[in-house]
């Protein structure tokens, strides 16, 4: 799906050995860029997207015809100023916006991969994305950033390639998926698997989609992105276009209607198998385990300058989990700044118009660039 003329694609020739043991060859990475790379090639920022994001960071997404997922933060004169910086973002492998994933055809069988696509990790995703640097002839990025799963990729990237970025900005993330994180992801996967249209992932050969399951997965996940206070203030017990409850199972409450809507628009732009693969990659993420339980060792080789941000009302990747990364960095004397941003908007704060967050991001980038 979605392989359209307005998707830019890099075909990676170098074989990539995945954590699961399999190797992928000649695979596509779909990417987008904003702004322009300067002559010294020292103004590039690699942005990593979250679970359901894609390469279309800002402006109009040509596929969904909606605003890019980080339009508040990225653009001319914005926090990540595309007049100044060259922003690169690619669809993660396993995704469904053009990069190699379960909706692609298996060259060996001629059938769509479905669940025969190899299981991926965050490590595999960033190893694939390193190819973008060669493609643009960039020796060292000015910065890498992303929120949520994007932040996990930031951490893995700088751990794998310690001298490939001058600054590092993980936002609202964790170094290791918690039991609660895994639980919510499993809920989503089970919702998809329970949809009779899923058919063990082979739905594309039947021209059907497990839309109901995927919508329920999205609804459950969406709740985790918001805060209780935010939900209460926005919806409370307000009724949906009715004077009183109807004593039935229609969407009486606005919150129900809102969630149903979120589920229904999501299935138009996202592939159910990709949802399985990407949530699995997040669950497998445990950076400290990769370094025998010592997270500090993940960052020992880098001299990059870190700036970490969390949000007060984020209960999915709470401040303490972000602080654990700060602590690991401080314990090896790394250059790390940290601020917890006050916001009622929950985990989604990093995607929204939260002025303290956007100004901190802008100030950190612009001041670091001057010292560059």
């Amino acid at each position: 799906m979605n392989i359209e003329s307005n998707i830019k694609t890099l075909f990676v020739k170098t074989p990539l050995k995945l954590d699961c043991g399999e190797t992928i060859n000649d695979f596509p990475i779909a990417y987008e860029t904003y702004g322009s790379l300067n002559e010294k090639k020292d103004n590039a920022i690699l942005v990593f997207h979250a679970l359901t994001g894609d390469q279309f960071v800002t402006g109009l997404n040509p596929i969904t015809k909606k605003e890019g997922w980080w339009s508040y933060a990225v653009g001319p004169n914005k926090a990540i100023d595309t007049k100044k910086y060259f922003v690169i973002c690619s669809n993660v492998i396993g995704g469904c916006m053009g990069s190699y994933g379960p909706s692609h055809t298996d060259p060996h069988t001629g059938n769509v991969f479905g669940t025969n696509f190899p299981i991926l990790t965050i490590n595999d995703m960033v190893n694939a994305q390193l190819n973008l640097l060669d493609h643009f002839g960039i020796d060292k990025l000015f910065s890498i950033t992303g929120g949520s799963m994007g932040g996990m990729q930031v951490l893995q990237f700088i751990s794998n390639f310690p001298d490939k970025s001058k600054t590092v900005i993980p936002i609202a993330c964790t170094s290791s998926h918690s039991a609660q994180n895994i639980a919510f992801n499993e809920l989503g996967r089970q919702a998809i698997a329970a949809d009779s249209n899923w058919k063990d992932g082979t739905y594309s050969s039947n021209n059907t989609n497990p839309n109901k399951g995927l919508a329920v997965a999205r609804m459950a996940a969406h709740i985790t992105y918001l805060s209780k206070k935010g939900l209460q203030e926005k919806f409370g017990r307000k009724l949906q276009e009715r004077e009183d409850v109807k004593f039935g199972f229609d969407a009486d409450f606005q919150i129900e209607s809102y969630l149903r809507y979120q589920g229904s628009v999501f299935v138009d732009r996202f592939d159910a198998n990709s949802y399985l693969y990407i949530t699995r990659a997040m669950d497998y993420f445990d950076l400290s385990k990769q370094f025998n339980g010592n997270l500090s060792n993940a960052f020992k080789a880098t001299k990059a300058k870190f700036f970490i941000m969390s949000f007060t009302s984020d209960w999915l990747y709470p401040t303490q989990e972000n602080k654990d990364i700060v602590i690991a960095l401080n314990s090896i004397g790394a250059d790390v700044g940290f601020v917890e941003i006050k916001s009622d908007k929950g985990h989604d704060s990093f995607l929204l118009d939260v002025p303290d967050f956007l100004s901190a991001l802008k100030n950190f980038l612009d001041k670091s660039y001057i010292e560059n």
Binding site: G337, V339, S359
Partner: protein, 198 residues
């Protein structure tokens, strides 16, 4: 810049690694970075002050000295600075211990409760002293553990902490505190600055 910061920066040689605990809006950090080529970090509890520091391009961590100093390894800084905040901690003894663990040396400044204006205020008015350095009322002051220069002197000695330099500050005047002049300095100085090491 405050005279206090001028004095602190004179205690720090060029090219050192320094942690400013309770760095506020980062004025001292900025000065040290610019003039002493200091590799400077800050720890600050106020979100808005942290934001001001970020806007100045300073590396600051939002946090609380009582809880968040423990993440720094032993002797990981040449100097740790604590300016006029010791009296605001619930456990100043623990904070001093942590400062001296994290830093090879610590520079601590204290508003002097033995200052004559403070004494006079209590003596004559019979109410909690309010001065330029201690502007808050008793019910809204963040200061829960006030001490005098003499108190601090006796405290560090009792803990086997070495004092390298003690300075008494009164407006623009800076003078050295010795055992012989301690009672008088404790009366005329409104601020004490101490360079200490464990």
């Amino acid at each position: 810049m405050k005279n206090e910061f001028q004095v602190i920066s004179e205690l720090i040689e060029n090219d050192k690694k320094v942690l400013d605990v309770g760095c506020g809006d980062g004025i001292l950090m900025e000065f040290l970075k610019k003039n002493k080529n200091t590799n400077i970090r800050g720890l600050e509890i106020s979100k808005s002050k942290v934001q001001e520091c970020i806007a100045k391009g300073l590396t600051v961590i939002e946090g609380n000295a009582e809880k968040d100093l423990k993440q720094f390894p032993d002797k990981s800084f040449d100097y740790v600075v604590l300016s006029q905040t010791l009296q605001a901690f619930l456990d100043p003894e623990l904070v001093i211990k942590e400062l001296l663990r994290v830093g090879k040396k610590a520079i601590v400044t204290i508003p002097n409760f033995g200052y004559w204006k403070v004494r006079l205020h209590l003596l004559l008015k019979g109410t909690m002293p309010i001065t330029k350095r201690l502007p808050d009322e008793w019910y809204n002051t963040p200061n829960v553990h006030m001490c005098s220069i003499k108190d601090f002197f006796q405290f560090v000695r009792s803990k086997d902490i070495k004092i390298f330099k003690s300075l008494a500050v009164n407006n623009q005047n800076v003078s050295i505190i010795k055992d012989s002049n301690l009672p008088i300095k404790n009366l005329v100085a409104d601020l004490g600055i101490f360079l200490i090491e464990k």
